[in-house]
Symmetry: C2
Subunit: 412 residues, 2 copies
Amino acid sequence: MFRKLLTIEEAKNVIDENFKPTQLGDEDVALLEAYNRVLKENVVSTMDVPSFDRSTVDGYAVKAEETFYADENQSVALNISGMIFAGEQPKMVLDKGEAVEIVTGAPLPEGTDAVVMLEDAERVDNQLQVYTAVTPYMNVMKKGSDIKSGETILHAGKVLGASEIGALAALGLTKIRCIKPLIVAVLSIGNEIIEPGKLLTAGKIFDINAYSLSTAVIECGAKPIFFGIVPDDKETLRKTLIVALSSADIVITSGGVSVGPYDYTPQIVDSLGKPGVVISGVAVKPGKPTTVAFVQDKPVFSLPGNPTAALLVFYLLVRPVILRLCGRTPHDMQSIRAFAGVKLFSAKGRRTFVMVRLVLDVEKSRLVAEPVGEASGAITILTIADGFVEIPENQQHINKDEEVSVRLFRQV
Amino acid sequence: MFRKLLTIEEAKNVIDENFKPTQLGDEDVALLEAYNRVLKENVVSTMDVPSFDRSTVDGYAVKAEETFYADENQSVALNISGMIFAGEQPKMVLDKGEAVEIVTGAPLPEGTDAVVMLEDAERVDNQLQVYTAVTPYMNVMKKGSDIKSGETILHAGKVLGASEIGALAALGLTKIRCIKPLIVAVLSIGNEIIEPGKLLTAGKIFDINAYSLSTAVIECGAKPIFFGIVPDDKETLRKTLIVALSSADIVITSGGVSVGPYDYTPQIVDSLGKPGVVISGVAVKPGKPTTVAFVQDKPVFSLPGNPTAALLVFYLLVRPVILRLCGRTPHDMQSIRAFAGVKLFSAKGRRTFVMVRLVLDVEKSRLVAEPVGEASGAITILTIADGFVEIPENQQHINKDEEVSVRLFRQV
């Protein structure tokens, strides 16, 4: 088993080397439920959208060339031969010298190729005076100009938002083939941990990590399976991990990874399949006792019990893997420039992540990054923090007022 | 009825003047389903977290003052009087000169106030040599240091993410009182519009806007009620709007707002209650024929039928209102600096929004904003666009290579 502490970049490289994208299944999803889902296949249109030349204004459908000499001083006279409403199929064919009244969205009749806007013409009974020249297809949305038959309108892997779902509706689709959600097993390890809602007995604490990590999984667009709490018992843990691995695409545990006599999670994970544990400890603070294994191509992340550390390592190492397995592009966390509110210290030889909240310094009109407590494992730190400042391994501190980049947990 | 075109800022002000936050109901939500929900009430802790002094390391619980003179050269000798596991309630009380082995997460026994780390001591049978001094509460998470009994840990209005749900679990909660989702009625108006999945007959187009706008509503954390398509018929529209207003907190229609003979949406909305229509047209391109009304304090947005325009006006005017009604902070859309790929033209006297996609210019190592088609109403434009460039009312164009700010539809 690997025992050297890796830097965060080394850890990411080791994960990349062992990473094999899972082939997730697929399922049909109703269009109105497909928000934020990932498209399984390319979507190729079998129709033109619109399927006819469509007026984009209220006015008069004409043959453009008959208006070419019209201007404010010299109108062109046309006979109005009827009216076309939206949703109708016009049956008339226009002759020379004819125009037809048309509303927005209605199809142009045969013999016309442009629309003169209401305000550019004057009507007296069935006589129209056109005061402006229109070019062919002016004020017309041509057949197929939005989507052409045979055109690929969306590509496999696209994450569906408002405009994508609108485009699918434009093709008349009511459901769409999406990648099935990635299943992530989440479990907390420890005899001291008790399920929320139960009676808190002496020496126990309520489970935090299974809840915060499951929510972080949901935030990635994946689906957590909540395995709850596993006591510090080798055989129970081994059996639970086997079930978790068989029912999920990825497993996240927290707790049970330090050097205590009851911390045998890494050994058990390592025994479950090849290549087993590939990362044993990461040179970060907080989060050092992080173990990463691959068991039959499935990643198993064993995170520290400290809730701040567990969630931080989730964001740094686990989230990118989940997003890639889901077929989503792992975006970097958003950053913002700020200035250190106090001197920030690092842990010797370890990449240090200082949780900070952003405060506006009105006088200097700039954002100040204020640390929100030591990496003590308090979950409340993260509810207050807006993000974190990173201090490199080879740097001992960041001075007060020094410019820093704050990586944000959520948009400010 | 108001007939002057308003600028986008004037429109926002008129909305603000008429805006009355709805009192949304509340409901209990299971913790694991509470992601992205809005907290109804302050959460006050009724307990200390942790509820006991807790070791944060594996080591030996001691009385700190007995180690004050220990260092690498001069160890302090203590008798080991047992071991404490996590999840146990220690029954022993330590005397002078005594230490007890303790694992991470276990409670400190009476008579101790600090923990010496495993690597800072040496054990031979029950004799311990301590090689480092510890100060009181070193390597200890004190009772109540994360959360104190009586402390407000989260405030009403907080949007629940991973760390907030973790903090609620820390209190032993299994459900939490949240604001009920805002209900938004979405309907499309027009005889030419047909529901996806049905047979497309001549002169018809499939409904796009009800789908794209419903999805945009979901994206805001609100709940769309899909009213589908209403034909161009005054009485049907009036009746549908009355039902929509009685069942939803806000109503969004699209189509039927230009000057055509069949566009009576604004008149009907205006007749339904006071103050009625407050905005009739906004000086933007695309999106000019936008109508905003308030009917018995409920906002009714009548958006253009053009899918690009409808979604753009949704992002500019409707989204901030939905977010405020939901009790969420309306964040500005994220912006990014880029350079105009070609000369961009504006519509005379109207704020013009040019849909662009971002392309990396490797040679100049900068982002270029390329326009992705005219504001022609093509829904595909928005599936390609990364965001838009805004050209002010009094500006006629933006030159090629000029620096621009691109407001992003989604994170790039």
